[in-house]
Assembly symmetry: C2
Homo-oligomer: 234 residues x 2
DNA sequence: TAGTGTTACATTGTCGACAGTCGATTGTTG
DNA sequence: CAACAATCGACTGTCGACAATGTAACACTA
């Protein structure tokens, strides 16, 4: 499922990126943002013709977009029946975080084993930024940096398939995050957690870092599940 | 990417499933088999119009089929440029087996932790079948049972996301397997390996089983990589 | 009233045609 | 002859229209 779209080192830094991407991908991006921001709740139907006319395009690119989203695991399609935003059950969320822990732990061990844990400057910079944001109390920004931190960690493992799987995982994590409202009080704690995890990795203690990370993720999971008011089943 | 299709407890148990699937999915199945059997080697271009006329259908379902295959990780699509059968580099194969080991180990630990390792009768039956096939020397059948054994193991973990990821993994493993010719001499050894892994799980020794499995997979990987004549890069 | 045909409707699946994009080839110019 | 522009061809991307499918509501029968 490689659909990556890295920075693309073109030589022209500031030149507002003319969207040369196929229409279908732009549509996918747009609908994805809607889902990930919670504008489209679980179970919401995605009717092709409605989306098409709403966006002023034909059904063909909309169909492709929905296919891409189903590839991302954000959407469920039943033949001849339609496409809906995927609902997440309590079980799904628990499973998601288990898998997430598994993959991040693997990434950490791989980084350390390859001896690359000395060179994690950008991660440190992201921790700094997290500290700053934690004080400002901008929870939305915090989520973004949080996501970027973990993505960087995965990418540092330099494992294509892992990165590819992470795409799916991160997407669903973000969808889950959209369901809850983090409290400002948590922000500082979260920043500290990441700092400690990073430091443990740099120290070369892969297993220790994996444990810290597991605790950190489990904490987030508990927060989500606590505010789980008998939600939808999938 | 949930594509599960459980037993569906309708009231009418035995009523053999009419193939009501959309054309696009049937096309995807067909092309997938071609790739997995090696009829379409890595790098082979999949031209929509050619496939369409060759199958006697329009381009639309073919396009959808190619999307599905790209979802399976069997195919690479570059916008406006076309779709080709994915080539696997040495690095890819190594990474694939790492990820595979990671997931199967997770499955084993989960099964044991949930205390379900006492009830693995179907796996034992598959071991029996493997023994029988090993004597007959039918390598093609051996691969099939092998795949089914590992799939059963994953499914026993009862973890939706894991199962979903496994779909991708198994697909690529099978593609790799299509590249090599197993020797008959290995067959008995392979059957014995599986038997031992299963017994270790049943005994409740998750870590031991995971180690055995890692060795088994690593062995297969080495066999593949050994017969690697400076193959294609991806 | 329980169960079974029937019909209408909303939505997806498929089709053939046209427009857009990219790489390669050819032609042009210094 | 090298570097660049125009052209060509093959292919994918998009479009609007039609066909196939599934659901729900309704009428019908026993």
């Amino acid at each position: 499922m490689p659909q990556s779209e890295p920075p693309q080192p073109t030589g022209h830094p500031p030149l507002g990126e003319i969207s040369n991407l196929p229409l279908s991908e732009r549509i996918a991006d747009q609908v994805r943002e809607m889902i990930l921001n919670g504008d489209l709740g679980p179970g919401a139907p995605l009717v092709e013709i409605a989306l098409a006319s709403s966006l002023g395009v034909s059904r063909a690119p909309v169909r492709e977009a929905l296919r891409i989203l189903s590839l991302d695991g954000l959407v469920e399609t039943i033949p001849y029946r339609g496409t809906t935003v995927r609902g997440l059950s309590r079980r799904d969320i628990e499973g998601l975080h288990e898998i997430r822990t598994l993959h991040e732990g693997f990434a950490i061990r791989r980084i350390v084993r390859a001896g690359r844990h000395g060179d994690l400057g950008d991660l440190a910079a992201q921790c700094d930024e997290m500290d700053r944001i934690a004080q400002s109390g901008d929870l939305r920004a915090l989520n973004l940096v949080d996501e970027r931190f973990h993505r960087s960690l995965i990418e540092r493992a330099e494992h294509d398939l892992l990165t590819s799987f992470w795409r799916t995982i991160a997407m669903q994590v973000r969808q889950v995050m959209a369901m809850r409202n983090r409290r400002i009080a948590d922000a500082a704690l979260i920043a500290a957690n990441h700092r400690r995890i990073l430091e443990t990795i740099v120290a070369g203690d892969a297993d220790g870092a994996a444990l810290l990370l597991e605790a950190h993720v489990a904490d987030g999971t508990d927060t989500v599940l606590a505010s789980w008011a008998e939600g939808d089943a999938s």
